[in-house]
Amino acid sequence: MRMKSPTALIPGLYLTLFFAYLFGPLIIMVITAFNSSTFPRVSPWECFTTDWFGKLASDDKLLSGLGNSLLIGVGVVCVAIPIGLAAAITLSQVGPKLRAALYTIFIAPILVPGVVIGLSTLIFWDRIGTLFNAPYESFFYDGTFLTIFGQVTFIAAYSMLVFLSRIQRFDTTLTEAALDMGATPTQAFVKVLLPFMAPAIGSATVLAFLASLENYNTTVFTIVSSSTFTTVLSSKVRYGLDPSISAVAVIIIAITLIGAIIYECRNRYYTKGWAHVIAERPALKIATHPGTVAVILGVLTLAAVLFIQNHDSSVCTAQVLEEKRALQQQLMEQQSINTPQQAVPAPTMPNLGPLGGDEGGASAPSPFGNNIFSPENLGTSAREGN
């Protein structure tokens, strides 16, 4: 055996760097959600605040978009899963030549740009609608329906891939055995093949739902005049950066992490080695049960929500505001010294924008800060130039 050379550390180092690239941007985004600065940033750090979450709760556009997204997600799952399953089964039963041809067609929607799929779906149903002289309110022009059709086009292909990898491990003699035992082909399908596919149906459903929820390229065309969570987010991002978007990210990342933790716990709980360890220790058995883990995480989430609702950063924000005002005042005074021909600035409220600073600085009646109107807005927007 040779000694472990320093080069042996390279893979570990590389992985660290790689995961830093993967998670770094997300972590920074999470941090910005808690900075009271109106522009999402880490430094300068102003105040720890949870106000941005409050702002989300009152964002009707985002909430109605979310509602649409969930509806579309459910619709996509209902259509794409049966299609994907049928496609995978068909592929597993046809001859090699036809299989190759079908596979190319089935896989194409994944490779075709989402923009193209969205556009073609929109045009196609518009044509059909015109053909039938359908009124504008009919589903041919309805954003929700069009988006479901558009997304199913490629999400069905994703789910097909999931099913295909499962069906490749299916022992076809099981179907033959069922037939031989007197089952009709339909019974063999329902009682043997379908139960075997059940886990894949579960994972394909999750995958399809998530893919639907986060799709933008296709949806932006097919949604027409309606909106989804993602299209609302996109327009928010494009028309002004604002830490409440980071707050959205925090919520999604939290949900994702909770999902991942429960998934991993479930996996460990049901693997043999782990089961052996906890078998004799009932306390540990209860503690590691995925259900228990879910409950603990649920309680933590509830605590976080309560904290967010009750945390009051108004004192700190007021202070920061005060400092800014002082700084601005100072600058202004300097300016007036430099340019004596200008009128002496009013001592009370220099040009602080329409609502002035007093209201935001002194009392802050609502828990969701008034800092939207705070003077630093002027400063940042000037600097960022959005």
């Binding site: 033959e176 037939l179 035992m181 089952a183 009709t184 082909p185 009682k191 139960p195 075997f196």
Partner: protein, 365 residues
């Protein structure tokens, strides 16, 4: 109820490839019948023709006198035990056994009762709620049999069901299978490439090669009186010598195999087609038929040299060389029969133990 099966001129062709070549045979009700042959000989295809997964290209499969063409596997009075058993992994043992009843719409209570009865029969009482994965190899085997019996078939088809088991268990299951067959009295059709299985269990055996049935007969006939070179070389061990028939008087033949004095070999009524003087032939002599000559000048005597010996405890397997041809010799390990490795040894065999057949394809070792 058992039913006889007849195959009438059954051909199965996959494009250019002929998997089954004009199979003709009758299997009586209640018989334990085996198809024996190397892998790829067409025996599984023939089984699939009987179970209904494969339609013959030409010819008829009749069960109980009825032509089965167009009758699907779920409509035939057969039950198949698959090579990998094909137990449903997601169902419990009892649900596996009761599956045939379930698809026939039998209610849950009756199903469970029948499953328990069958578990009793296969000596696994009270194990119905176990998962299939919790069973041992032999137990799975028996569950597969129970499931097949739950169909109440007339014919049970078994496709090399013991091949996945270890040697000990395999030998045990042979006896058990035969016992079950006697108990339920069904026709068993058994597919195997293992001659030991075929010889010990079957009433009759069909030996197949390259899609053709070479010989049909009981174990003794197949072993003692093979009718083709393939059967002679495939079933059991055999020494083969190339020879020429010098004379044939209907009772005995004289065969020159290039080892000195011509050999005398008896014709047998159950043997292969008769040979005429001048015909080339394969002369087969089993290792246990060869013996060390007690005295000089015995009939069918020839000289050999010692090559090597394999010791197996009760038997000694010795390889000798006679003018360039290696011959195997099996001797009982009873303390006699010492062989001097350095001097030539004389061997002989009885005329009724030699088998002369038309030259044909030999089974590869």
């Amino acid at each position: 109820m058992t039913k006889e099966i007849s195959l009438e001129h059954v051909w199965v062709e996959f494009g250019e490839f002929t998997a089954v070549h004009k199979a003709n045979l009758n299997i009586a009700g209640g018989e334990f019948f085996s198809f024996l042959g190397p892998s790829g000989c067409g025996k599984t295809t023939l089984l699939r023709c009987i179970s209904g997964f494969q339609e013959p290209t030409r010819g008829k499969v009749k069960i109980g006198g009825q032509d089965m063409r167009g009758v699907g596997p779920n409509k035939r009075p057969t039950a198949l035990i698959f090579q990998n058993l094909a137990l449903f992994p997601l169902r419990s043992v009892a649900d596996n056994i009761a599956f045939p009843l379930e698809v026939r719409g039998v209610d849950k209570k009756t199903r469970r009762k029948r499953a328990d009865e069958l578990l009793e029969l296969i000596a696994l009482p009270g194990q119905g709620d176990k998962k299939v994965s919790e069973l041992s190899g032999g137990q799975k085997q028996r569950v597969a049999i129970a499931r097949a019996l739950a169909v109440e078939p007339d014919i049970l088809l078994l496709d090399e069901p013991l091949s996945a088991l270890d040697l000990k268990l395999r030998q045990h299951m042979r006896t058990e299978l035969r016992a079950i067959q006697k108990q339920v009295g069904l026709t068993f059709i058994y597919i195997t490439h293992d001659q030991g299985e075929a010889l010990t269990m079957s009433d009759r055996i069909a030996v197949m090669n390259k899609g053709k049935i070479e010989q049909i007969g009981d174990g003794k006939a197949i072993y003692d009186h093979p009718t083709t070179s393939f059967v002679a070389s495939f079933v059991g061990e055999n020494n083969v010598l190339d020879g020429t028939v010098l004379s044939n008087d209907g009772k005995v033949m004289k065969i020159d195999a290039g080892l000195g004095t011509p050999f005398t070999v008896e014709n047998h009524p159950a043997g292969g087609p008769a040979l005429a003087p001048g015909d080339a032939c394969h002369l087969f002599v089993r290792p246990e038929a060869l013996r060390l000559s007690k005295d000089d000048g015995a009939i069918n005597q020839f000289e050999t040299n010692f090559i090597t010996e394999e010791f197996e405890g009760n038997m000694r397997h010795i390889v000798m060389n006679a003018s360039g041809t290696d011959l195997k010799l099996s001797l009982i390990n009873d303390g006699t029969n010492a062989i001097d490795a350095n001097t030539p040894v004389k061997l002989d065999f009885a005329p009724e133990m030699g088998i002369a057949l038309k030259p044909g394809e030999l089974a590869s070792a």
